[in-house]
C-alpha cells in the first residue's frame, strides 16, 4: 500500500517509519486526553491512526511486515486511540445517559433502536436520492470506500472475544457479509464493482489522500473498539447502530443511482444492503448486544457508548459533505495537497 501524504507532525513521523525512511519514531507531544475535544476532526491524528491500523491488513511500500507489532508504533497508537476515546466519551455522554436502563423500562435492544431512531441520520442519502449529480454520487462512493472495501473486516477482529451465544449470531451475520457461500456476492466485492462501474479505483487506500479526518474516523473508531479487548462491547454496540442506520439510506442511495441512470452494479450494492441490513440490525442488537450484557451486565455502558459513537461519527462525517455539496463544492480534500509530495 502507498504511504499517504502526511498532514502534520504525528502523521509525518508515522509515515517516515512506515516507508522505511527511519527506523525509530521521534519523541512526539500528544495532547492531554483531558483536552481531547476536536480529535474527531483532527486530520493529523486521524490519518496517523488510520495508517497504524492498516498495518494489520497490509504492508506499506518500503516498510517491513514486522512493523505490525512494533512496540513504539503500538504505544503511539494506544495514545492516539485514548484521545479518540476521550473525545467520543464527551460527545456521546448525553445520548448514552438518555439510553440508560430504568426499572421496568424497555430492554436493551429497544433502547438501542430508540437511540438510533432519535438521530436524524439522513446524512447524505436524502441528497443522493433527490438532487446529487453523478460526480457527487461518485464522491459518496469514494468517502464510503474507506470502510466498504473492507466491509465487516474490522468487526471480525472482535469475534473471538465475544461470549458464545453472541458469536453464533455474529457468525450468521458475517457469513452474509462475506457472500453467504458465493464468492461473487461478498459485500466488499459488490462495492468494488460499484466503484469500477463509476470509473473509480477500487484498491483499498487509493483515495486516502483526499479523504478528510471526519471520513477516516468512520473506520478508525471501528478499529479502536474491535482491536481492544476491553472495548469489545463498544464494538458490537457500534456495529448494531451501523447496521440499523443502513437499510433506509441504502434504499435512498439506490433510488438516486436509478435517477442518475448509473450502472446496475451500483444499485445492486445498495439494494443488497436494504434487505441484508434489516436482518443484521435485529441480529446485532437482539442476539449479539443482549448476549454480551447478559454475560456481564457491566458491559451495558460500553454497548451504549459504541452505538452512540457510531451515530455521532456518522453525523460528523456527513455534515461537511452536505455543506460542500450545497455550496457546489467538492467534499474531498483538494488534490493540491498531494502535489506537495
Amino acid at each position: 500500500m502507498r504511504v499517504p501524504m502526511p498532514r502534520g507532525p504525528i502523521s509525518t513521523a508515522v509515515a517516515e517509519v512506515l516507508r522505511g525512511a527511519v527506523r525509530d519514531l521521534p519523541a512526539l507531544d500528544l495532547p492531554d486526553p483531558e483536552d481531547a475535544s476536536g480529535v474527531l476532526e483532527d486530520d493529523d491524528v486521524q490519518l496517523a491512526l488510520w495508517m497504524l491500523h492498516q498495518l494489520h491488513y497490509d504492508d506499506f511500500d518500503g516498510g517491513a511486515a514486522a512493523l505490525e507489532w512494533d512496540p513504539a508504533l503500538i504505544a503511539l497508537r494506544r495514545g492516539l486511540e485514548d484521545l479518540l476515546l476521550a473525545d467520543l466519551r464527551e460527545r456521546t455522554a448525553d445520548v448514552v445517559e438518555a439510553a440508560r436502563a430504568e426499572d421496568g423500562g424497555p430492554g436493551l435492544a429497544e433502547r438501542l433502536f430508540t437511540m438510533v431512531d432519535s438521530f436524524d441520520g439522513a446524512g447524505t442519502s436524502t441528497l443522493l436520492q433527490r438532487e446529487a449529480t453523478a460526480e457527487q454520487f461518485a464522491e459518496h462512493l469514494v468517502h464510503r470506500s474507506i470502510y466498504n472495501l473492507r466491509e465487516t473486516d474490522p468487526q471480525v477482529f472482535a469475534m473471538p472475544r465475544l461470549p458464545g451465544r453472541a458469536q453464533v449470531a455474529m457468525a450468521e451475520l458475517v457469513y452474509d457479509e462475506y457472500g453467504a457461500g458465493r464468492p461473487d456476492r461478498r459485500h466488499s466485492l459488490l462495492f468494488a464493482e460499484a466503484m469500477e462501474a463509476c470509473g473509480l479505483d477500487p484498491t483499498p487506500g487509493a483515495y486516502v489522500d483526499v479523504l478528510p479526518a471526519t471520513t477516516l474516523v468512520i473506520v478508525n473508531v471501528m478499529h479502536l473498539f474491535a482491536l481492544r479487548r476491553d472495548l469489545v462491547a463498544a464494538s458490537v454496540g457500534h456495529y448494531g447502530a451501523f447496521e440499523a442506520t443502513s437499510s433506509a439510506p441504502s434504499q435512498r442511495a439506490s433510488n438516486g443511482a436509478e435517477r442518475l441512470g448509473l450502472d446496475q452494479r451500483v444499485r445492486d450494492y445498495f439494494d443488497e444492503h436494504v434487505e441484508a441490513d434489516a436482518v443484521h440490525e435485529q441480529l446485532v442488537f437482539r442476539d449479539v448486544c443482549e448476549a454480551v450484557v447478559e454475560a456481564d451486565p457491566d458491559q451495558e455502558e460500553l454497548v451504549l457508548l459504541g452505538a452512540a459513537s457510531c451515530l455521532v461519527v456518522e453525523d460528523a462525517a456527513a455534515a461537511p459533505v452536505v455543506e460542500a455539496w450545497q455550496a457546489d463544492r467538492s467534499s474531498l480534500l483538494a488534490p493540491a495537497a498531494q502535489e506537495a509530495s
Partner: protein, 73 residues
Amino acid sequence: MTERTKSVRLTPCPDGPILVRGADEVVDEDGVAHPVTRAVVALCRCDMSQRMPWCDGTHRAAARARINREAKQ
C-alpha cells in the same frame, strides 16, 4: 449438505420482523415463491415494506415519527 430434513426456525422480533432460519423459499399470499438466499431472512410483519415479503426496516419509520413528535413537544 445433509440429506436430513432440516428444521425451519421462526423468531419474532418485538415491533419488528420475523426472523426465519433454515427455509429454502417463502411463498407469499399470491402463491409466488421467493427463494431464500441468506442464512437468516427477515419477514415483514407491518405490511409497509417496499420489498415484500422481506423486511426493509420501514416499520421503524413509525417509531422515528413518534420520537420526533415527542422531541418537539
